[in-house]
Symmetry: C2
Subunit: 220 residues, 2 copies
DNA sequence: CGGCATCCGGGAAGATACTG
DNA sequence: CAGTATCTTCCCGGATGCCG
C-alpha cells in the first residue's frame, strides 16, 4: 500500500524520495540539455530497461520535475522535458558529479553519453584557466550539435548551430573526453578517425586545458 | 555475481554507485557533524533497520567515505566517522536539500533528527540577512550540544560547549525548526515546554530571520 | 546493550518478448 | 518508435538470535 518513504522532514531525505530511485538522476542528466524522446533517453542510458524508464518518467512527472509534451504535427512525436524547477537540478547534478570525480574507484574508461560529455564540461570548467581564451567551438557528437562560447573566463555550451563557430569538432564524445580529461593528443584521435577538427585548431588546443579534473581523494 | 552498476563514466553515475543506495546519503548526513555510534545513527534515522545500516556502513567504508574507529579504553566503543573526502559531501547534501526544499510536496511536519535540524541551518543560512548580527548561541537538542557563532554575515555551527554562549536554546529540535522555518512564536514554544531560552533573548529572536526558506516551485 | 549474522516476505529492478 | 507484459533476480525491510 504505502510506498517506501523516509518519514523525515529533512530536505535531503525529501530529495531522495523525489529523485532517489535508481536511474532517476541520470534521466534528469540526460534532459538537462533539452527535451528528448523516449528512445534517445534509452541510448543515453545504456542498461536501463524500457519499463524502468517508463516508470521513472511517470514518477518524475508526478513530482513536477518532468513534463511530457506532444510535438505539433507533422512531427507528432512525444518528448520529455524538464520543468523550470527540474532544470534547477543542474546545480545538483554538477556538485554530485564533481564530488564523485575525486573517487579513487572512478573508472573514466566506461561508456560516456553525449549529454554526460557536455555536462562534464559545464561541471569541470575553470574560469581561472580560461582567462584570455575567447571564441566559439561547435561540437557534433553523433547527430547532436552543441555550440560552446568562450569569453575570457566565461563559458556557455548548449544545443546550437555549429556552422558559424570559429572551430568545429566532430566525432566521438568519448574521444573528446579522452583529449580533455585524459591528455590524449588530438593528432592521434584525428588519425584514428575518432575526431575531426576544422577551423581554428589552436583555439581547440587551448580549450583542452580549461577543464581540470579534481585531485583524487586518498585512502585514509 | 556482479553488482548492479550503471556502466557509465559520468561522475554523476559514479556517485550513484557510491552513495545511491537507499539511506546512504542520510547516513552521511548524520555523520557530517561528527562521529557517531551505531545506535546514535539509528535514532537519527528512524525507520532504518539494523542490517541495512550495517550494510550501508560497510559499503561506505569500502568506498573510502566512512571509517570505523575504536575509541581508546575505557570507552572502547566503536564509532563511525567520515573521511576527509566523505566530509566534502557536505556541499552535496546541502545543494540537494536546498533544491528539494522547493518541492511542492515537501512536508515539514515530519520528524526531524538533530543532525538534520543543525544541517538545515547550515544549508539555509543567508549571509545577506545576517548582516549586523553578531554573537554566539548554544543549542542543546536532546543530549547533543552545538555552538553557533554569528559574526556580521558569517555563520558557523558545530559541536561545542554551550555554557559560555551569549544565549542558550534547549529543548526539541523540531520546535526550533518550527520557529525558524514555520514562524511559530517562541513564546508559545516556551510555554508548552518545547524550548527553553536563556541569556540574550533578543539575539535569538533576530537569528530566527536569517534562515529563509526558498520559494516553492509551482506546478507547470 | 552494541554490533552484527541469518532467514523470510514483498516489491523494485533487470531482461526479454510482444503490441499498437 | 514508444511503450506494455511477463518472468526472474535481488534488494530492502522486519524479526529473530548470537556473541562479545
Amino acid at each position: 500500500m504505502k510506498k517506501r518513504v523516509y518519514d523525515d522532514a529533512c530536505g535531503t531525505a525529501h530529495a531522495l524520495e523525489l529523485i532517489g530511485d535508481r536511474w532517476a538522476l541520470l534521466v534528469i542528466r540526460e534532459l538537462l540539455l533539452g527535451p528528448k524522446r523516449f528512445s534517445d533517453l534509452r541510448t543515453g542510458l545504456p542498461g536501463i530497461s524500457a519499463n524502468v524508464l517508463t516508470q521513472r518518467l511517470e514518477e518524475l512527472e508526478e513530482n513536477g520535475i518532468v513534463v511530457r509534451r506532444e510535438l505539433p504535427p507533422p512531427a507528432s512525436a512525444k518528448v520529455y522535458a524538464l520543468t523550470p524547477w527540474g532544470l534547477e537540478a543542474e546545480e545538483l547534478v554538477k556538485v554530485v558529479g564533481k564530488w564523485a570525480a575525486r573517487s579513487p574507484s572512478h573508472d573514466p574508461s566506461l561508456p560516456l553519453s553525449v549529454s554526460s560529455a557536455v555536462m562534464s564540461m559545464r561541471t569541470m570548467f575553470s574560469a581561472q584557466r580560461a582567462k584570455g581564451i575567447s571564441g566559439t567551438i561547435g561540437f557534433r557528437f553523433g547527430r547532436e550539435e552543441f555550440l560552446a562560447r568562450f569569453d575570457n573566463g566565461k563559458f556557455e555550451i548548449a544545443r546550437g548551430d555549429i556552422a558559424k563557430a570559429d572551430a568545429q569538432v566532430e566525432g566521438d564524445q568519448q574521444a573528446w573526453a579522452g583529449a580533455v580529461y585524459g591528455g590524449v593528443p588530438l593528432k592521434g584521435l584525428e588519425k584514428s578517425g575518432a575526431l575531426k577538427i576544422a577551423g581554428d585548431r589552436r583555439l581547440v588546443e587551448r580549450v583542452l586545458t580549461v577543464f581540470p579534473l579534481p585531485a583524487k581523494a586518498e585512502a585514509p
